[in-house]
Symmetry: D2
Subunit: 349 residues, 4 copies
């Protein structure tokens, strides 16, 4: 159930609806929109009587929500959500580009990476200080030391920092240093971690699990929103299939599929999505053409010496070319849409 307030509804009207919801044993979620406020109801098993709300002051209508996910649903919030990370808008008119190494290896490496990303046109810096690794004997990341180097790189370059939190124990530290907290594919259904992310005061980048359906992906995001954090960016990074010419199969059709069901922005990771350096550029272009709001790309100043994922990391000059070309495609498509809307506008007015 979603209670939509009139444009003129007062703060008091909104509080009144929330009280009513609580009195029925449910939980209200106030979602201010550009023109009007909506209030989601969760915690109900079975339908909530619409009539109970439609007579309250300031209420325009009460809409039943048909999907298992509610707060992430476009039924509940028709306008696109734009998430801001250190001044960069993700989900708005411009393409957002995040780049950097798989993991923070040492101070020099991450500083060199950040400078390269900045120089090549990237806006956000990625790099893992805590790494989920298949082997317990593999490099597990530098931990807080890595977070500090990331902060230093931000200081020097101005790039916002996107870095992964792998457990609740170290979440506070990551939240302290990061501008955006990544939840990795292996943790997409680590529900305790999702709840913790829902209580964070920073945006969250949620990667799709390796065999996650679209519904499960949106439900994972719903966990975060249901705790009060509405700043969530979704990320497609490839799924597991029989195909063996790439490390994963990048499922770009999930981009328009998410966009029709949810107001949350979705970006694409063509590095993990292909696992091969020479496939990153064409698939990055494809992601942008499919409508992705941004890209997250592995770039390393010296890929051949990377401690992890070197084979799928771009050289800085490759990233620069990718960034230019992706922006050109995004601009072309945006201009076409704007002029199409302009053509249609007089007819509608």
């Amino acid at each position: 159930m979603l209670v939509v307030m009139r444009a003129q509804a007062t703060e008091q009207d909104i509080a009144g609806v929330c009280e009513k919801i609580q009195s029925l044993g449910f939980r209200p979620h106030v979602m201010p929109g550009a023109e009007r406020t909506a209030i989601g109801i969760t915690g109900n098993h079975g339908p909530v009587p619409a009539a109970e709300f439609e007579d309250l002051p300031g209420v325009a209508e009460a809409i039943p929500v048909s999907k298992p996910y509610k707060l992430v649903s476009r039924e509940v919030k028709p306008d696109n959500t734009v998430v801001r990370i250190a001044g960069v808008a993700v989900g708005g008119a411009e393409l957002a580009l995040c780049a950097g190494p798989c993991s923070v290896e040492n101070r020099e490496q991450i500083l060199a990476s950040a400078r390269a990303v900045k120089a090549s046109g990237g806006q956000l810096l990625r790099g893992g200080a805590y790494k989920p690794r298949t082997s317990p004997y593999a490099f597990q990341g530098l931990g807080e030391e890595g977070l500090k180097y990331l902060a230093e790189a931000r200081e020097e370059t101005g790039l916002g920092v996107v870095t992964e939190a792998i457990d609740v124990e170290t979440f506070d530290l990551v939240e302290e240093y990061a501008d955006c907290i990544q939840i990795g594919a292996r943790n997409m259904q680590n529900f305790s971690l999702l709840r913790r992310a829902g209580r964070a005061r920073k945006p969250v980048l949620l990667k799709r699990g390796m065999s996650s359906t679209l519904d499960e992906f949106l439900m994972a995001a719903e966990y975060i929103l249901s705790e009060g954090n509405y700043q969530v960016i979704l990320c497609e990074r490839g799924v597991r299939t029989f195909a063996d010419h790439t490390r994963n199969t990048l499922d770009l059709s999930v981009v328009p599929a998410v966009q029709s069901l949810s107001h949350l922005p979705i970006i694409v990771d063509p590095s993990h999505g292909t696992g091969k350096r020479d496939k990153v550029h064409p698939m990055a272009l494809a992601a942008v053409a499919a409508g992705a709001s941004g890209l997250i790309v592995e770039v390393h100043p010296n890929p051949d010496r990377a401690l992890s994922d070197g084979f799928q990391s771009l050289y800085p000059e490759q990233f620069q070319e990718l960034a230019e070309e992706c922006r050109a495609v995004a601009d072309l498509l945006r201009k076409r849409r704007v002029s199409a809307e302009a053509r249609l506008a007089p007819a509608l007015s």
Copy 2:
């Protein structure tokens, strides 16, 4: 093994090499290139001695081929193959657009479709006269009657006709009427049909099987080339995975993967690749951005009344928009490549 002739090699030199190959019990495949002729050797179990060929007149070098596929391999033919269908180049500088209904339903429907495709900027007309259907009780196509209507549509609009052959028995008929013969996904490993296609005098459009690996896809094409027909276009149309938000999972990474291993052109079918009308446009754009040489799209003058696949067929005006936007993206990327090459050229000369 591939025997590469010198640029000045004569017809007699080429014949000499072929004789030598046959005398060893193998089979020669003469492949004329823009600057020089190459001769592939198949039928050998184990290595062929290079020295036997390198001393023959006109021979530049004899190269062992490392892949299981030979004639489709870029090792054997570095230049892109451009396939011409009724005057339309597939694999060249321009994007090739093929569109039309799933099946030919009657004379009026296919003529209306052809006019709509022509008017919206399509160059080739698709439409099945023989339909492989999951159920024996479903509409199986009009057969030769359908082929005649397709020919009539070509006559009126000038569009080349792409239509499917489903068995050896009816192949002659299809070959007679079609400008390009499609082998469907379910028949990708119907080796008798592939061999027959290899003896056709028309270009062949080979669709990737639903769970085909890249190697199997290229080996299926190799069947066609090994019989002497080098006019083969590959087509990605989605693969089977756990994902349920689309009918199939469109694996666009196979586009650059094919292009690095093979000289054959590859196009994309976003209609079967998604199975949903509203996903066709974004995935068509993505395919073009990933580097596809063309698209094959289901368009129907009245999708809601289509006998098959109506839910994934575009309205003509949707196709027109798709065609314009895809061409704009293709143009943008082509111009960038051309100017990049121009920048690099002086340095290389």
Copy 3:
């Protein structure tokens, strides 16, 4: 729609119903059962009026069939179908064991194989004379020569012969020599071949395609039955997944799934289903325990010298052990079922 006749219905009654069906433009399929005859109706688009049949002489009832497949459905024929191949019942009380090499390589090899299969307790001999191979350059089978060797092996050992038909062109030859005609996984949706198999006078072994759903599998069998051949055995042989520890993923749950929806017998191929010699025995046992009516196993007198699939072929002594152990499990389960039914019988009478 299925018209069920009374136990006392005469031949004339049955003919009357068939005439009625034909007069409506549909097609009757007479299916004699142990106690009563049923007549399936196909060719209808939309529902057939039951009332038109229920008043005809000899008719017990007219039942609508809810599934897309009709003749293969248990709704239409509740009793298990038992298919007889050269005196061996498949789908009855006893486990049916078919074994032999991947392909017929020469006279000595297939005779030695047949003797070994016979000596180890096999009842049917497998071996391909026509081989669908991924590569056009791989050994494609001996053709008719291979069929003749198979016939000779049958002559000597008494084993019925199961061998594959790969196209309509060579089907007549295969039908002439074989006791049971195999349709391979790659041809499961080669509908022209299925129709030809439906007109054969020999039983057909239909293998599940590599990415076939259960519905598609049953619809492929429906193609064969719809042409009048009701002697069809289904075969699970593994499907394509991300898992890489076996060549295919053997999906044994399809055995009980088929059995609840269809009356056709289903057997399992643990050799292709695993692709590894040391996994064949445990998965054969698992297949029998899951309820499979039989097994088809690759056995070679000298696996290390096999021209194809040697790595997954058993040594004859391994097959003997497999056969004994599988029969022991099948016997145990059959006896438990028989005694459970005996316990229940008095209560029911």
Copy 4:
């Protein structure tokens, strides 16, 4: 690297090898075996010099380990590991049967379940107090209250308790009440949770992730062993594929595959593995025939009223029949193996 001690090696010899390992900066893992002790070395990047160990007192040999997993590998420990849960051996001669409801719903339900499991021949009780649920709005389990009811059920019936830990925060509580701690499929690569399980003093049941390869599955177990907990049971519960006739595709071939690579016991969950009540019995039998050391089955006193997974839960009388039949198959196969070994023994002596 694995250092194998002589049968007569003393405690002092073992301590000497451990010191040597530590002095090189690595980590020793002492694994006492039936006849001799082995010491695994982890923490090394690159090969460890064998010669450094082979001259130490009590050392028989130093063996390089070729797999990425070490402690779980059969190379390191050839004998099967037998894990004891509340007196029940898992991985020994007898089949281990664990059963119970998906989740603990209330005191009466879990007590009734435990009595039914006990009466039907189960040895261990399953039931979740903490439930990982796709939706944040679904029933999440009773938490500690549920654990207390499980303890009460154990008290009354004597059944050991297997229950899931979903995060590090609540792990202590679960460890306190459980006899065996389950790590669910969604957490198979929650490495922080695996490390915590590696420090537990209770056995761990590790379920395979939905798209986990065999290597990843064994590496997840390696995380637990690498922290010092060698009491790990693996569990196959179905993987994600395109197949839609079952909820998941039960990949039974992983049972013999695990057994050839690892000494750890593996059991099967046919309830999640099929997601359909009528498929549980045949797939349980198949799992036992494939060699599984046990089963974990959902049983509910009143499946139609279950708060979760009712559609795949067995009625108690169904479980009783399953237990009897599975034990009969397991006994049959064990006796055949024992008598086969007896036949071979004289020849070997």
